[in-house]
Amino acid sequence: MPGSNREIIEVDICGQICPSTLLTALSEINKHKKVLRTGLFQLNILTDNHDSTNRVSEAVGNMGYRVEIEERKSYYCIAIFKEP
């Protein structure tokens, strides 16, 4: 499940212009890559754009991260993390 016992870094992209979700996800991963590598942190990207969930899963999955998508009320939470 997203956010089991990892520290959460949350970024909210809901309602933003396309393709903000993928670009932000990539730059946030880059910014936090050291802490993400420890496996103790998890990046949560909140987006309301459903194609973004596909795109981010693909792109970030190819970079060796685990990606889990959770449907919340009116948006999606894309959880990006590494397994320790």
């Binding site: 309602g15 212009i17 396309c18 998508i69």
Partner: protein, 368 residues
């Protein structure tokens, strides 16, 4: 008869909005991602859509369900202005975060930047009237040929040319299908696969063309809305603009059996009859899709630079759609399947436009 046409257009819009929202069929994104990420999975669905539309249009023409001959008001003679219109449109749609129909279905789902782009579209298309006489002159001066379509240019029959193009597209599509590249992996509930959306949109396009006499298109109505307000605010200036006086657009309306005239002025005419219900339909169809998915979300705390980009992109797009003439949906889903040279030039222009737009977007709007 007007009521029937309005009802049909509205239904087509509803289906179109619903399908586009469910599959996130963003035409602007397809071109943008090609340059921004060097990978555009949805572009393959666009190829599928164009190929299916070509097949359906040509079959319907041979069966006598469609009657048209080019050049006409729908697709005229090719000129440099089509290419330039496509280029500017490409920049605009990337900065706006969606093309003309993309903007509409995103507004329907509650997207605030797209609402700014919508406003920009009206402003841009109205501004074009100031430059219309000069632009028309350039169009005549830079006309390439007297052929309206690729088959006319190279002396092939429409059917043979379509057959060749379909064989090439078919080859690509078959390979993509075999490699599973047309399917998008998705966990989203209610997600419509873009390849299914492409098939549905091709059918919607055929119904539109055969019943209303036109492929899907909406941009002239934006001018009409802008013209309406301009007439109220600066009536003296408005009266001097020739663009708003003409009724040069002519097409055969199969349902009424009459040739209808239309223009850019704020009048109820043959284009408003089809386009306004279509616009309303797309908006409502998308909103219904978003609400039924539980994904209708209004957010207003958006970075200002994104809103400015969307507004500016909308202005560019509106302006370019008048220069081209017509928007990307008209050319990609209407003209390309008919092998119109205007549409081919417009599409060639879109590519560098989307490239420039992507650079501007990552440099000034979505900076890391």
């Amino acid at each position: 008869m007007q009521a029937t046409i309005i009802l049909i257009s509205m239904l087509l819009g509803l289906c179109c909005g619903f399908v586009m929202h469910r599959s996130d069929f963003c035409l602007a994104g397809m071109f943008r991602d090609l340059f921004l990420f060097r990978n555009s999975p949805l572009l393959r669905s666009l190829v599928l859509l164009i190929a299916c539309t070509m097949l359906l249009f040509e079959a319907a023409r041979l069966l006598g369900l469609l009657s048209f001959s080019l050049p006409s008001s729908l697709f005229g003679l090719p000129s440099l202005t089509n290419l330039l219109g496509g280029l500017l449109f490409g920049i605009g749609m990337v900065l706006a975060g969606g093309c003309v129909i993309g903007t509409l279905y995103k507004v329907g789902a509650g997207n605030f930047p797209s609402a700014c782009a919508f406003l920009g579209l009206i402003i841009g298309s109205t501004l074009y009237a100031e430059f219309h006489p000069q632009w028309k002159q350039l169009e005549t001066q830079t006309r390439f040929t007297d052929a309206a379509t690729l088959p006319q240019l190279i002396g092939l029959s429409q059917s043979s040319a379509c057959f060749v193009v379909l064989a090439i597209f078919g080859g690509f599509l078959f390979r993509w299908h075999q490699n599973g590249l047309l399917r998008r992996p998705s966990v989203v509930k209610g997600y419509l696969q873009p390849q299914t959306a492409a098939l549905l949109l091709a059918v919607i396009g055929l119904v539109s063309f055969s019943l209303t006499g036109m492929p899907l298109g909406i941009t002239t109505s934006y001018v009409k809305v802008g013209a309406f307000f301009e007439q109220l605010i600066i009536p003296e200036h408005f009266a001097n603009l020739s663009y708003f006086q003409g009724q040069e657009f002519q097409y055969l309306s199969p349902l009424s059996g009459q040739t209808l005239n239309a223009g850019a002025g704020p009048f109820w005419d043959g284009l408003s009859l089809v386009q306004f219900p279509l616009i309303g339909g797309i908006f409502v169809g998308s909103a219904l899709s978003a609400i039924s998915m539980g994904k209708f979300l209004l957010r207003f705390n958006i970075p200002k630079v994104q809103l400015i980009s969307a507004l500016f992109g909308g202005v560019l797009m509106g302006f370019a759609a008048r220069m081209a003439p017509a928007c990307n949906v008209w050319h990609l889903l209407g003209g390309l399947p008919l092998l119109s040279l205007q549409s081919i030039l417009f599409t060639i222009g879109l590519l560098p436009g989307a490239l420039i737009g992507s650079h501007l977007l990552t440099r000034y709007v979505l900076t890391p």
